[in-house]
Assembly symmetry: C2
Homo-oligomer: 426 residues x 2
């Protein structure tokens, strides 16, 4: 391996990837550690080459300067062209030195970070849906348990410049989803992301943060404390080696991991060009369900969500229940809508009996609570036949909705029932 | 006619329906005036009978107590059963007297209201899409001109218990639609309806209010002044004769007229069971486009809108432009979305270059504004080949995005351009 002291490298790898690894397992992990630094996230050619040749051989091939022809000869049944290889080699060469990898491993050891590869038991297989764009390795800090929760996780993402509304909705959503057994995935950014992690932790739920730089250098720095708590109770993950800086490109690529890791992605607040729309599109391209939370049309912080909803790409979600509906957990039946259809009519709204029995409605309209009315009078007022009126009055008498006095019928005052979660009247 | 002084009736009808009417025209109008009181709004059997026999004959038929058999014999090719006729006659009989019709005509004359029938030049043909449920006559107060504006009208409806948000959005919507040449149709209720009419008037636009009672008795009384102004500058319309009281049933039927009269219906705020959802469903059943404005999920006043959007029955609309897109006026091309795609990237958002050229993004990431960097260094940092980096730097130099100094390349600080209507950052 790069003609380095193998013992030193092997020791380092064992420290960050597992004490009981044999030689070939160590080579595999060192090679992937190197690849995670040589290729930028989302380098499909690297993914395909590593998949076909195995990480160590692929690395040797680059070091030994294989010609594109030799590569193509070895990479059978791929759709890579000589030109792709040539370009890829030109990208990888400038980074082809062992120094950074060793440094990354040392740094990982110092921070108690783990190096994970696809052959690990604990590898989150949901990321493999990214095909050749799947990460070549993962650098993680946190509780092992976190990796088992991806199969019941939902991503909550959104604007960094979130509004109070957005943060409130995020808090409710994260807490509600944790209560329903979901883990919360996000990107640890300011605004919605940070609130999603915070609320999950506050609800003693599992939360995972994907970073666009090394897990040894928390970004944004204002979230040092938060990321520290995520390491203690959840997990911080990056596909980039320790020491890597976050860049725009890496933020965009990081978003694909957030989309792939979770069962569904929810965009809570997003400006017209927010990066969270990028996450949503990654999720859509993976056929993962995506939800967007609407907001005031007077707030640009919801423009991106409304854009997604208008393009009918995503589902409009307004509560944790509706978010959970997008990714029901095994054995979990579809959550009921927040307001059941058989909800009582709000008696204060006189245009409000759309779904109630029309005959009943018309008889009720024709009745008075004070002055008793004869069936004939009620028929004239309601435009119903006397027969129908009598029949309806009979039914209503049984329901206790009307009183029959000597001089005619009167209606009992309706209780002004309010819809369950009503905070205003429709 | 009911053995009344024909002269008096004729004089009345001429006053409210047209001074130059001949005898048969007068009969037609008197009969429809009577029918508008005998049958409740939306009585399909009445609609079909009147359509087949003509209003006067249909009226005579009821007065002369035709048997269902005779009716069916005369009503060929209808899907009405003897049973339907029997029930209908039972509904109509209790109201079969000329008194109320005469009173309604006198009242109409007193209030300067007009009686309109389908044979009138000015009849709003959009209502005929209701088929047998179309109104048998219309009683109107206002400017003639209003009736010609239905073909370019949009209905704005919503909760009576509107929030400040809903009223603000309604104001913007009505003003924006008036600017684009639309007339505003609504129901004169408190809340959204009232604001829609008010904003249309304030913008010197045309507005029409459909009432659930007679046009001689404004409802709600709190909108007396507003309805008076609508009569002065627009029109107040009802299918019920003067003197009729609004009832729940009539509110629901009134909603079908609002939906049928306009090109599209927009629900701005609506509770879970708001009557405006009923209007939306009438519009959908007529295949009229329907839009709903999203709002805070924390406000029950938007629950109904979100319900419609979630059921993918309607389009999510967030601006007057998007509302106008639902019903483009002839010669009016689709309005552009409020934020064009070619909008500048908001430089403050580092996750924000989703749609920009990836190579550019990666080179920009690798550049510094202060310390000059060599192409090779930039290649290593960006994970691109030196060739690609040189080519990109060349392009960027032409765009003035980078500077070349002796010791290498630096990037020029990006102008922090903001999206056009940005009120917050994504």
């Amino acid at each position: 391996m790069f003609g380095l002291k193998e013992a030193e490298v092997a020791e380092l790898v064992r420290t960050v990837a597992g004490s009981d690894l044999d030689r070939s397992e160590i080579e595999e992990r060192f090679a992937r550690a190197a690849w995670s630094g040589i290729s930028e996230p989302g380098d499909g050619v690297a993914g395909e080459v590593v998949a076909m040749l195995g990480a160590p051989t692929a690395l040797t091939a680059v070091i030994d300067r294989w010609t594109p022809e030799v590569f193509l000869d070895r990479l059978r049944s791929t759709n890579i062209m000589a030109d792709d290889i040539e370009k890829a080699l030109a990208r990888w060469m400038p980074r082809l030195e062992s120094g950074p990898t060793i440094v990354a491993l040392r740094q990982a050891a110092r921070f108690g970070a783990r190096l994970r590869v696809p052959s690990d038991e604990s590898w989150p297989t949901s990321l493999d849906d990214l095909g050749h764009f799947a990460p070549l390795a993962l650098w993680t800090r946190g509780t092992e348990h976190a990796l088992e929760t991806f199969h019941r996780s939902i991503s909550l993402v959104g604007a960094r410049a979130a509004t109070g509304y957005g943060e409130h909705v995020t808090m409710e959503a994260a807490a509600g989803l944790v209560d329903r057994g979901y883990a919360i995935v996000s990107g640890a950014a300011y605004g919605i992301d940070g609130m999603a992690h915070r609320a999950a932790l506050a609800s003693h739920g599992m939360t995972v943060a994907f970073l666009a730089g090394g897990v040894d250098r928390f970004y944004p720095s204002g979230h040092d404390a938060l990321l520290g708590r995520i390491v203690d109770h959840g997990m911080v993950i990056s596909e980039l080696p320790c020491g890597s800086q976050p860049t725009r490109w890496r933020f965009l690529q990081r978003n694909r991991l957030i989309a792939a890791a979770s069962l569904a992605t929810i965009v809570i607040e997003a400006g017209w060009r927010s990066g969270s729309l990028n996450t949503a599109h990654h999720a859509l391209s993976l056929s993962r369900p995506v939800g967007a939370v609407p907001g005031p049309v007077t707030s640009a912080a919801s423009d991106g969500c409304h854009k997604l909803i208008r393009e009918s790409l995503v589902t409009c979600v307004t509560s944790a229940d509706e978010m959970a509906e997008l990714a029901p957990l095994s054995g979990q039946s579809r959550m009921p809508a927040e307001q059941p259809a058989e909800q009582p009519v709000d008696a204060r709204d006189d245009t409000d009996s759309a779904s109630s029995n029309p005959t009943t409605a018309r008889v009720v309209d024709a009745l008075s609570a004070r002055s008793p009315r004869e069936a004939g009078d009620i028929a004239t007022r309601s435009g119903l036949s006397i027969g129908d009126v009598r029949a309806e009055l009979g039914r209503m008498l049984l329901d206790g909705a009307v009183r029959e006095a000597e001089r005619g019928w009167t209606k009992r005052a309706e209780p002004a029932q309010k819809p369950r979660q009503s905070r205003a009247s429709g």
